[in-house]
Point group: C2
Chain length 414, copies 2
């Protein structure tokens, strides 16, 4: 199958592109490298040293014989996008090419506007591009479980049957997103549903949970193929961040009560879920929603799991509660359905199996690259203008065997 | 009360600004005149001859002694918007400043992208502006009944209590909008709800039905104060369009079966609803939704009402069915609640009272200005690229006493 992975140089996109290529699909990566640009903007780096895309693709070809084509450009640029669609003629489009950090979208007005315009316009362009140039192409769009918020009822997969005043209908599940980023995905979902209805497009909206892990079978082949591992307060997802903190003896930073419960999945399941969606396309006119996660955890549960794993590795791991910089329920009911991908054959990797291999060991291996000034939250949801940090990493990185050193560095930066 | 009316040079905005000024409020109009620009783009004109804003405001001041301040600029320009907020210090912001035509948003990709970016960014700017500069200011935002679509259950005012698997929650009513324009309002509504929750803003989302009529007590004072009356296929709302068609002997154009049922209201109720919202502000943190319409009609019912009224005036009015250019249910259940504004004191003007005065007579008075080439629908929802008309109005407009002449002109232009 001919599959274009938009955002294929990013965290989920890179792992997905390699996985699909390894499975024999003809893959193209479409990316404008803005994710690397945001690292420069924030003065942050991924824990793992990632190579330029051209190097990555060369090594992949040398190791496997598989060629991944690369289209460099921005999906908000319709001339570029339509040229790519004409040249590559995809049968499936996997759309990761969005700004995906909630804190980034909450920095200030410009970041909020950028996030919503970038994400909404990119997806609108895709919908029009498919309608005009490849109407049978299956759009696999990355949404987020955060679109649903934390309602006091079970969360269904995209749609819910509502009985009301003696009548009944199946309607889109109500959305209560918690950041301008999450809202951008809500906007996308509504646009997607409409385009499928009006134009007979086929789409799968993958409402993904929080992804953790770095290693997949493909990225593990060579260090040149290593994936991103973000641990900073803006782009670091909670579990990756906790593992990085544990590796350097930084207390695990729990926001508020820690009762915030979300769906989680291993990046090895992300890539498999995308392939499952590709191999089982939505029908023409269908806008299908899968909740893409495998397990629910609260933040506090995750912290305790990391603490326990760290202890086994000889690390001293403390937990530290911080005032929650987000506006969210810190303790709430949460029960989200996630059976559709399982029904289609997903065999989950559970956290208990992957924690040490794919997370703790990577964090320890690269811990000398950690910049502790990136860890504490600076983006406060309640403020409309958040200043970014002024201090920058010391010329000499934190040493290994670093528990006291890291603690000192953290205090200096506080 | 100090009230800024954003989009105050447009159809609803102009009537609202005058009404509020007449009631003794201190009013400012904020507008960039893009609505007049769209007339140029489409080669269309309002049926009624509207004056430049500066003339309108001068005449209003001369007639009533009331000064309406004017701020000329674009709400998507935050520098402009924040300067206005600092200078005028509004207690309420009435936000009509959005692209409000569904067909305009469906012309092609650029019009869809423009509509969503313009509307979403303008509202985001307002939310940030209020948060940063006037956090106690009440935002009264024009939404649309079209956000709900046509579900097979009763439509509530913004929120619905859902019982599901033995649990219960009050959640945002599911949205199923039917054009990129209507979707932009859905996006706004979600952004609005979040900002109220995160920042404690106060907002009222007025989900307005289809507005009809031209005259209000204030615009009737002098012809220089006359309001827009759009009858073209892009900006003309259905009832105004039918009345213009009846006035020149053009068959009333019914899209599809005509069973499309919507909420409608007289523009005299629009202005009163806005004042009611101003005088009864939402609480801090509250995002309140009012369904702002007074009566439900199907398109076919409206056509029959106009036919009957036309007959009384001696006009020969035919009905003509066209294939529906929109993607919508042509026959469906529809029962939308609309009691909150009534509870706050709205006394509706019903269609039966206003049809002749405010619609048919105006249409007949200005019928020589009608360009029949603007009437037939050209924007097809099923197409991603719609060409605009190539023919332009003849140098000599359609004559009065025009039934045959208009018919001929129409056939020539077909």
């Amino acid at each position: 199958m001919r599959i274009a992975v938009l955002g294929g140089d990013g965290y989920c996109g890179w792992a997905t592109a390699l996985y699909l290529s390894g499975k024999g699909h003809t893959v193209a990566i479409v990316d404008n490298f803005v994710r690397r640009q945001w690292d420069h903007e924030l003065g942050a780096q991924t824990l793992t040293p990632i190579r330029p895309l051209s190097d990555r693709l060369t090594v992949w070809r040398e190791l496997t014989g598989n060629v991944i084509q690369s289209f460099v450009g921005d999906v908000t640029d319709y001339d570029f996008l339509s040229t790519m669609l004409r040249e590559f003629e995809p049968e499936a489009l996997v759309h990761f090419a969005e700004q995906r950090s909630a804190p980034y979208s909450m920095i200030d007005r410009k970041h909020a506007v950028f996030t919503q315009v970038n994400n909404v316009v990119g997806t609108l362009n895709l919908l029009f591009g498919i309608r005009e140039l490849c109407p049978d192409c299956h759009l696999i769009k990355l949404g987020t479980m955060g679109e649903y918020g934390t309602p006091n009822i079970d969360i269904e997969e995209g749609y819910i049957t509502i009985e009301h005043n003696g009548r009944k209908d199946m309607l889109p599940f109500p959305k209560q997103a918690g950041s301008f980023y999450h809202l951008s995905k809500v906007h996308d979902s509504h646009n997607l549903m409409f385009a499928c209805r009006a134009w007979g497009l086929r789409a799968t909206d993958l409402n993904q949970g929080v992804v953790y892990g770095t290693m997949t079978d493909e990225t593990a082949l060579d260090e040149a193929l290593i994936n991103r591992f973000d641990y900073d307060e803006v782009f670091g997802t909670v579990l990756n961040r906790f593992c990085a903190q544990a590796a350097i003896g930084h207390p695990l930073t729990i926001y508020g009560k820690g009762g915030q419960t979300r769906g989680f999945l291993d990046i090895r399941d992300t890539v498999r879920c995308v392939e499952i969606a590709c191999l089982n396309p939505a029908a023409r006119g269908e806008c299908r929603v899968f909740n893409q996660f495998t397990e629910q955890f609260s933040v506090l549960q995750l912290a305790e799991i990391v603490q326990s794993a760290g202890t086994k590795l000889g690390l001293a791991v403390e937990l530290k509660r911080l005032p929650d910089p987000r506006v969210e329920a810190e303790d709430h009911y949460y029960n989200a359905k996630h059976s559709k991908l399982i029904d289609l054959g997903l065999q989950p990797h559970y956290l208990s199996e992957s924690l040490l291999d794919s997370l703790m060991n990577i964090a320890i291996q690269y811990r000398e690259r950690i910049d502790t000034s990136l860890i504490m939250p600076r983006v406060n949801w309640r403020s409309a203008t958040n200043t970014r940090r002024v201090e920058h990493p010391a010329a000499t990185p934190v040493e290994a065997a670093p528990f006291e050193a890291a603690e000192m560095a953290r205090e200096e930066s506080a």
